[in-house]
Subunit: 84 residues, 2 copies
């Protein structure tokens, strides 16, 4: 949905979900090990997370959606970007 406009009355939102600092990130570790094996050197600090894009009529509800469904607040941080 990159570059698209939201429907009338709705707001595009993007939720970025990452493992909390100190929580194991096995996917990030796998990518960090695989890249040099493919010849890509000079890569550091790889983290793999999720992205959820949605259109919402009321953007103030997105935080609650993250807490209740989209993220696992015990082990994940989330960041909400409103894209207009």
């Amino acid at each position: 949905m990159a570059g698209r406009r939201a429907r009338a009355g709705a707001v595009r939102a993007r939720v970025l979900i990452r493992p909390k600092a100190g929580i194991l990130d096995p996917q990030g570790g796998a990518v960090a090990r695989a890249l040099p094996a493919l010849g890509f050197e000079g890569v550091h600090e790889v983290h793999v997370g999720r992205m959820i894009e949605l259109e919402v009529d009321d953007p103030s509800t997105v935080g609650a959606m993250c807490e209740r469904l989209l993220a696992n607040p015990l082990v994940e941080d989330y960041e909400i970007e409103l894209l207009g």
Copy 2:
């Protein structure tokens, strides 16, 4: 790694990976169905993708990393954001 600065000489990059338009997005469908069941109405166009954040010495190589490892170009689109 939100808000962090990259190490000296490296650039922080974020790769956003989405199912291509027309490709089934079962995770997005599951979220779209679950949100109203939790009382969140007014949500449309839910898409679930991946986010990969990394620090690279040479940001011009990130596209090749996407093509070769990070994304599946047959069924996924990727977008690269350089965060400085």
